[in-house]
Symmetry: none
DNA sequence: GTGGTCTAGACCACA
DNA sequence: GTGGTCTAGACCACG
């Protein structure tokens, strides 16, 4: 499962936003996109910590927040699983998670007095190159 | 100029990213979009601080960074002005400032397994509604 | 007896307090209230474990604590029975088991600056609706 | 303010539920009971930590949860204040916070086959003695 | 084995 | 000065 763990997450230790938050958001996206299904067992805290060279407490903090959020569920002494309530995620639901970033982009475009057409073309290009 | 100041910036004190950074980025966008032209006088630190109810040191820090960046220029004893070198901003240059946010959006869309088409449509809708 | 077992206990696996403790307290209350009389045979560990989908070790731990407490007695090779010493329970004795929770409620009411009258009325209402 | 801090909270380090949660719940009750009003400055993390002989991180964790819950608000670099949205707390609202514990007491009373009358009398006595 | 909690101490970002 | 984050290491509760 370790190899699985390593490929499941990609953490930028030097990033602006904290590691635990990167973990939280990635798990949330993996769940809502269906790559993690309800009932799936999550890698253990220690496993992730070792695979990503993090302190277990950092991972634990992320798990704790995800549990509070209802995304993960704790099975005492047995580890965490993806919560049953965590909907598989319809396209509309997934799009909702993308909205904040796109709204920010729209605001910036407006402040830059960029033509909507230009902004859209740029986004299209970026989506293509990242493919 | 005070009334001008209040309307020039919009600061969200409760936002995730720090106030000084919001100031820096807003000034940068105003300059590159031509809403602030080279030679224009910037409001004084204390003027902005008072208008937006901020700590003067916060405003000062933003001005310092903008000066380091060559966006603003300091005239000893006379306040800051928009630097002459600060180009009015060709479209390509402006688009460059939008890129990071769009790249982030593209990455999130991929992690959500959203169709590029869907992401683009959503962006188009947001751009339209924000108009 | 299995059917009996399932209805005898109600375990909330997602609850805040541990499963083994829920078992211990429920047995203690059943005994002191007379619903389990001295000499009664308790369901076997594996029987309870299967009926409630619990780890047998969890049930075993609860039985161990109840034995230490003198509530249950172990008959080698024959399972556990309700201890003879486990008095049927006079009202005063039963009330003692309720005290801790009520003391906690009283403390919380005080911290909430709730009128004792209000707290009492609320408790009366809850007792009634749960009947 | 230190003396204030010491008297504001009462922590049982040996208690079953964790320190950070005791802090969270006490603050929540103080806010909803009006003893802490919106806009009030909270003691600093270090101040509480020192007054109660706790690790600052433990206090910080409590503050973080209270912020996520909307009970407290962070003023960056200036400390935490009671959130404006944190309603002063009508009696009904306060009673709601007492409900869970009373529901638990009611359930236990029922399992003990205690007369509602007896349970109520016991609660009345406890409320009186704690006064 | 699992996650949870706490401590100690360091460093950073912000105002 | 404020809170936030991370690390290291210990201990506990649970199953």
């Amino acid at each position: 499962m370790t190899t699985h763990t390593a490929s499941l997450f990609s953490i930028a230790t030097g990033s602006a936003d904290p590691i635990y938050r990167q973990l939280v958001e990635q798990v949330r996206r993996l769940v809502v996109s269906g790559q993690l299904a309800p009932g799936d067992e999550m890698p253990s805290v220690r496993e992730i910590a070792q695979a990503l060279a993090l302190n277990p407490m950092t991972v634990s903090k992320a798990y704790g927040l995800l549990e509070m959020d209802g995304v993960l569920a704790r099975r005492r002494g047995l580890g965490m699983i993806v919560a049953g309530t965590a909907g598989a995620g319809k396209p509309a639901e997934r799009a909702a998670l993308l909205r904040p970033t796109l709204e920010r982009a729209a605001r910036e475009a407006r402040e830059l007095e960029l033509d909507p057409r230009t902004a859209l073309d740029l986004f299209a290009a970026i989506l293509k190159e990242a493919q």
